[in-house]
């Protein structure tokens, strides 16, 4: 039965996620950051609560009056704060419940995750205690109803010789000190929650505790609009000599209260106990084969070894043990973490079908964010220790210079606004963060340590949101935000063996970065650069590789045009760039090839290179999509499979 419900939940959840992926994109999908959103809402509740507390008076009469004064006397701030306090609390309940349901649906509650499941349950209970406690503070008819109903419910327990509800029989039964006690509890409980949230996330490697900026802004704006459209208000002042026939309940917190009268307090205790018992048993009931054992994972060619805890995904184990695997959404949607399992068996986990095809699975691919080992594994991983020295950051930058080097190519120099040079490595890239969401990836075009500025080569894409902006509106001095450096650097770990670089159009940028770095470090291995383009103007910086050729005897440059016009008077090579390489190197055994070009060009070149003796492990690519699609990003440099 549990499995059936779980499978149905999974079916529903995957479809909802997929829909939201289309709307928000995987990296901004709110369902992938429910815990972080709940945490963010917690801070909203805390900040708005502190403001309200500054005006709150603890007394039987003052409590209601002070809240009314805050709500109506300063509706523009106090009223909005009160509304935010309420709606953010309700939002916390909603996001936490969906977070729980999602973890159940995705079977992320067994093994080492059981700890987070149980602490999450306690957090949910504390949230209810704190929220219900908060409603008492207003001391309106809703507070009166909650006070009486809560004590009637508690009195069912045979532990009170004197019924608690007698404290709310008469108006004079309630005194000022009671509200001081309530305030103390209403501040103390969230403090305990804060400590427990830290514990809750501690067992999950790299658990996300902050939602993405766009989502955070979206949530704040939504709640602000809601606060203005439907401000949170009190009901009539509490009067224990009367009872309101109708009460406007906050169903997020008080959904079970009507059952006290519809059923009986005892039956509600039975229901609560049953639900809690079920929640406590779920990690055991949902335990599966993949959550049963610990396994050892070794990586090749970079020899690293790390272990997984029962139920832990490959990515979680890697993050926990400082193995820097690439990842994005961590929920099986974006495909960034896709990698090769060379030996061993994995449970592929639950993921969006488009992120990993059956063909890719047959080829040994898996999504490391979802896959859990079923045996010891060997996976493909290219480590670069230096990555640790260049952690990705989000920062602002200013457009230092703009140089139009071809009709459709702009060279940008961006100066980070954060003090100190940005550390990065050749063939890494940055993501420009666009206003209103979205990002565009561009490779570094300058060499490590060459300048404190970032050089990007931007090719205008018809209809492209960012590239059109660059060519029509951007001016020197404008500021941008970006995240980076990102991506795995190209590791030239065999500096003396021959290497052929294949660049297509602005694919020259990362190759320039790699080559300048190689020249700077005195690499002696022989190097060729084949730069392919349609017309001479696409070879926008041809003087540079020509100069390198003159200056470095181990470097050869071959420009290749696919469609030169007679008026171009082109004297050089004509045809497809990879065919030019194969004409010059019929046997590629012993060579390495690094291709940075469009996906189509790379896909055409790879099988041809392999057919001519190029070893798979010596074939690297940085393929990119030239499209207006918001998800278009360059692939990580990795051996082509």
């Amino acid at each position: 039965m549990i499995r059936l419900i779980q499978r149905f939940s999974q079916f529903v959840m995957l479809r909802v996620e997929n829909s939201l992926n289309h709307v928000f994109r995987a990296e901004l999908n709110p369902l992938y950051q429910l815990g972080a959103i709940a945490y963010f809402l917690f801070w909203m509740v805390a900040v708005s609560g502190l403001y309200i507390y500054a005006f709150y008076r603890t007394g039987v009469h003052e409590a209601y009056s002070s809240v009314e004064s805050l709500t109506h006397g300063q509706w523009y701030l106090g009223g909005i704060m009160r509304s935010l306090h309420r709606y953010a609390s309700d939002g916390m309940v909603l996001t936490m419940l969906v977070h729980m349901w999602r973890n159940f649906a995705m079977n992320r509650l067994s093994g080492f995750r059981a700890f987070s499941w149980y602490t999450g349950l306690v957090l949910l209970l504390l949230l209810y205690v704190s929220g219900i406690n908060g409603y008492w503070l207003v001391w309106d008819q809703l507070a009166q109803f909650i006070a009486v109903a809560s004590t009637e419910w508690l009195d069912w327990l045979p532990i009170f010789s004197n019924p608690l509800v007698r404290n709310f029989l008469l108006q004079e039964s309630v005194n000022d000190r009671f509200f001081s006690l309530l305030s103390f509890a209403h501040i103390g409980t969230p403090l305990v929650m804060l400590a427990l949230i830290t514990v809750h996330t501690q067992r999950v490697s790299g658990a996300r505790t902050q939602p993405s900026r766009q989502i955070a802004i979206g949530v704040v704006v939504t709640l602000l609009v809601l606060a203005l459209v439907k401000p949170a208000v009190s009901q009539a002042r509490a009067d224990l000599a009367s009872v309101a026939a109708q009460i406007n309940l906050d169903w997020f917190f008080l959904m079970s209260y009507p059952l006290i009268y519809k059923w009986s307090p005892g039956q509600l205790w039975a229901l609560g106990g049953g639900v809690m018992t079920l929640f406590l048993l779920l990690p055991v009931l949902a335990r599966t084969r993949h959550t049963a054992g610990s396994f050892q994972i070794t990586t090749v060619p970079s020899a690293r070894s790390f272990s997984t805890k029962p139920g832990e995904t490959i990515l979680e184990a890697a993050i926990r043990q400082d193995v820097l695997l690439a990842y994005g959404c961590r929920d099986g949607a974006c495909g960034t973490c896709k990698g090769s399992v060379l030996r061993g068996e994995v449970d592929y986990g639950i993921y969006q079908a488009h992120a990993l095809s059956e063909q890719e699975k047959r080829a040994g691919k898996a999504l490391f964010c979802c896959a859990t080992p079923l045996s010891d594994l060997e996976i493909e991983y290219f480590e670069n220790e230096s990555l640790k020295q260049a952690p990705a950051r989000t920062m602002g930058c200013r457009v230092e210079t703009m140089r139009r080097v071809a009709p459709d190519v702009m060279v940008l120099l961006l100066r980070p606004l954060t003090a100190g040079a940005l550390k990065f490595f050749p063939s890494q890239h940055i993501d420009i963060l666009l206003d209103g969401g979205g990002r565009r990836s561009f490779s570094f075009a300058n060499a490590l340590g060459e300048t404190e500025c970032i050089e990007l080569h931007v090719r205008r894409i018809p209809g492209g949101r960012f590239t059109s902006h660059v060519f029509t509106q951007m001016k020197t001095g404008d500021t941008l935000r970006f995240e980076g450096p990102l991506g795995t650097p190209f590791v030239d770990d065999d500096r003396d063996s021959p290497i052929i670089f294949v660049a297509g159009a602005t694919g020259f940028a990362p190759v320039k970065s790699i080559l300048e770095h190689a020249f700077h470090t005195g690499s002696k291995g022989r190097k060729w650069l084949y730069w392919g383009a349609r017309s001479p103007s696409d070879l926008y910086d041809i003087q540079r590789p020509e100069r390198w050729q003159r200056e470095h005897p181990n470097f050869m440059f071959v420009p290749v045009l696919s469609a030169p016009l007679p008026e171009d008077h082109w004297q050089g090579r004509v045809g497809l760039v990879h065919e030019a390489i194969l004409q010059d190197f019929p046997d590629l055994s012993g060579f390495r090839v690094y291709a940075c070009a469009s996906l189509q060009m790379v896909q055409a070149a790879r099988p041809a290179f392999l057919a001519h003796g190029l070893s798979e492990s010596a074939c690297f690519s940085d393929a990119f999509l030239m499209s207006t699609h918001p998800a278009a990003q360059p692939a990580e440099p990795r051996p082509l499979k």
């Binding site: 928000f24 994109r25 406007n248």
Partner: protein, 169 residues
């Protein structure tokens, strides 16, 4: 076009989020009592009389006790049940037998009962018996006009002024 649709979809998602929070934070209203009803709350805590009366210890009994335990009276701790009856307009509304609390059954007997009644003027008779023998030692009759939504609290204090020890609030 696709981007416009995405923004529209995001706006819909946020609007749905807001609508859920906005609606369920106050609605639907919960009817805790029918509109033309009032509420009677019968509640008190009362220590009943001892189940067995105290008796004088004989000289022999006292001699057998340790010096510090030699108290002339032997009073069993156990208390009687409290029996309560509430009538409204001549009809029984509530009847309960309340055992004393505590492991030795020597504590107070407590009751809290919430009784919705139709609004209007009603004649209430409430009786309490707190001894093993005899009838109801405390009785009070009262006509009360109850408006819709009013709460009548019937408390009991053995030392309350007036007849019966029952207090109507």
């Amino acid at each position: 076009m696709k981007r416009t649709l995405q923004y529209f979809g995001q706006a819909c998602a946020y609007a749905l989020f807001a609508a859920l929070l906005g609606y369920f934070s106050t609605s639907p209203a919960y009817q805790q009592l029918p509109d033309d009803y009032a509420l009677v709350k019968l509640s008190f805590s009362h220590a009943a009389q001892r189940k067995h009366p105290c008796r004088e210890r004989s000289a022999e009994e006292l001699a057998k006790l340790a010096r510090n335990m030699r108290i002339a009276k032997d009073c069993p701790r156990e208390r009687s049940n409290v029996v309560v009856e509430l009538e409204m307009d001549g009809q029984p509304l509530y009847h309960v037998v309340l055992p004393p609390s505590g492991l030795a059954h020597d504590g107070v007997s407590s009751v809290y009962r919430r009784l919705p009644v139709r609004a209007g003027t009603h004649r209430f008779v409430v009786r309490l018996k707190d001894t093993e023998q005899g009838g109801f030692g405390y009785v009070r009759e009262e006509s009360v006009s109850l408006e819709a939504g009013r709460v009548l609290v019937i408390d009991f204090k053995a030392d309350a002024p007036g007849a019966g020890g029952f207090v109507f609030h």
